[in-house]
């Protein structure tokens, strides 16, 4: 598996740290209901197919990345920097 970092180009999977579902970008408000925090921290769609998750380019540019990929085929469909997303850095 190779990921194409928007800054560094195509790199081996070993350079990256997998953090988890894209859900981590949608942090609830501090006063949100406990259920919202439980969903944010623990509960997952966990799709068999296309998913979007967060990776960190640990041994590269230190960017946080949103990777769109297929969990059944391991195909990487898109990689974008979290900082480039609407709303800026998480």
């Amino acid at each position: 598996m190779r990921l194409t970092c928007p800054l560094c180009g195509e790199r081996d999977r070993r350079e990256f740290y997998y953090y988890g579902s894209e859900d981590y970008l949608n942090r609830p408000a501090p006063d949100a209901a406990p259920q919202a925090w439980d969903d944010y921290l623990h509960n997952r769609d966990n799709p068999a197919g296309v998913t979007r998750d967060l990776w960190y380019h640990d041994m590269g540019c230190s960017s946080w990345l949103v990777v769109t990929r297929n969990t059944v085929t391991h195909d990487i469909l898109a990689v974008e920097a979290v900082a480039d997303r609407k709303g800026g850095a998480a």
């Binding site: 406990p34 969903d39 921290l41 623990h42 997952r44």
Partner: protein, 416 residues
């Protein structure tokens, strides 16, 4: 048909013409008292104990492929009861006791071999942690023996004791730990459940869960609708998909775990050896193959195969620990889909839907749990109450903070 030594001899004398299929192949009925979704180890044992312990025999196991085609047929077969936390330790202790009587109970040879498991340690701090774990195991009524370096050398003379990165200080020896023939566990439970009247329905994929007024009424399948007042979801790596049919979003992320087996060799590794610092463990199957594995690939996946970085890592760890295996040829490697929970512990609980139960979150340790998981899931489905040894495996424990974090690494999806 009861299996026995006499039966084997008699059949051998008369051309082996008297053997019959080990279970029936029934068509699904329109309605059952209870349905188990998933014909793997946990689903089959749940059905067996529902019939045996609770007298429920009008039940069906629905399997989308063939029986035992998932993780029960794809694991590294280790059986152990060496847990530390209350909540886990009594459960795995119960499972070990069931393993010890399993072959007689099922009238099936599951080749359970209590060859002993040794967890190696490599520093004073790690030794102290293993002393605490060993004491916890003894307090639970199980067995643990602390071995010093010479004690380990006597049992495992082939290890590289002089390695500089992880010098071997000793090991925690769990004599009742060992292995079992994984497929035979599925087949044994299937045959024993079938004998008690359970319908094992293969090639029957569940496509929907019927719910009326907050109560489960049955399931939709590729072989038609089937009614039932009680439904148990026991589908391991596919838990999120089946639970979604009932409107649930689980605290589960499915990950890939790879394992490897070499060509058959003469007996060389007599125990199960675990090298935690290198993320490597190994045993030798009765056929002679060295069966070994390591850590997760560490990204969500349903691919049933992993990537090369973890292959390389596992091989390196094996060579670091026991250089003698370097000449063995690897025959196969494969990946299983692990239903990982945030804290690394399982879930056996009711759901928000009346009559709908779930058994999942077995992480990378489901095989040894097969007997007790079925026992406790059957208890829950029959009585509506959690079994005492599985009372802490709650679905909502992440929300309430009652987590069971055996490794002490935190309650987060990428940490176990």
């Amino acid at each position: 048909m009861r299996y026995s030594g006499l039966k084997v001899i008699t059949e051998g004398l008369f051309g082996n013409k008297g053997w019959k299929p080990a279970w029936r192949d029934p068509a699904p009925k329109a309605e059952y008292d209870a349905i188990i979704i998933g014909g793997g180890g946990h689903g089959l044992s749940t059905a067996y104990y529902l019939a045996k312990n609770h007298g429920l025999t009008n039940i069906a196991v629905l399997e989308k492929g063939y029986l035992g085609s998932g993780n029960i047929g794809r694991n590294t077969t280790i059986v152990r009861a060496n847990y530390f936390l209350q909540g886990n330790s009594e459960f795995y202790s119960h499972s070990m006791k069931l393993w010890e009587g399993l072959e007689i109970d099922l009238n099936y040879n599951v080749m359970h071999s209590q060859r002993g498991l040794i967890n190696l340690f490599h520093s004073d701090g790690q030794r102290d942690a293993f002393v605490r774990r060993g004491n916890s195991m003894i307090n639970q009524g199980d067995d643990a023996i602390l071995l010093d370096r010479e004690g380990v050398r006597e049992m495992l003379p082939y290890l590289d004791f002089e390695q500089t990165r992880f010098p071997i200080y000793g090991g925690l020896y769990h004599p009742r730990g060992g292995t079992a023939r994984h497929d035979a566990v599925a087949w044994g439970y299937a045959r024993a459940a079938d004998k008690r009247g359970v319908d094992l329905i293969q090639n029957c994929e569940v496509t929907g869960v019927d719910i009326e007024n907050g109560r489960v009424t049955g399931v939709q399948t590729t072989r038609g609708a089937i009614k039932a007042r009680k439904v148990g979801i026991v589908v391991a790596g596919r838990s999120s998909q089946v639970a979604a049919m009932a409107g649930m979003r689980l605290p589960i992320e499915s990950h890939i775990l790879q394992a490897f087996v070499t060509e058959g060799l003469k007996p060389v590794i007599d125990h199960v050896v675990s090298f935690g610092m290198g993320h490597f463990y190994i045993s030798q199957s009765d056929k002679g193959g060295l069966v070994f594995g390591g850590d997760l690939d560490f990204y969500a996946s349903y691919a049933s195969r992993g990537n090369l970085p973890m292959v390389e890592h596992v091989m390196e760890a094996g060579m670091t620990l026991m250089p003698m295996i370097g000449r063995a040829k690897v025959l196969r490697s494969w990946g299983g889909i692990m239903d990982m929970s945030p804290d690394g512990s399982p879930i056996i609980d009711k759901t928000h839907v009346d009559g709908l139960f779930i058994d999942c979150g077995w992480n990378y340790g489901g095989f040894k749990a097969v007997p007790a998981s079925g026992w406790c899931m059957a208890h829950l489905m029959a009585t509506g109450e959690s079994h005492p040894v599985a009372a802490r495996f709650k679905l909502n424990r992440f929300a309430t903070g009652h987590i069971l974090d055996e490794e002490g690494t935190g309650s987060q999806h990428n940490l176990h």
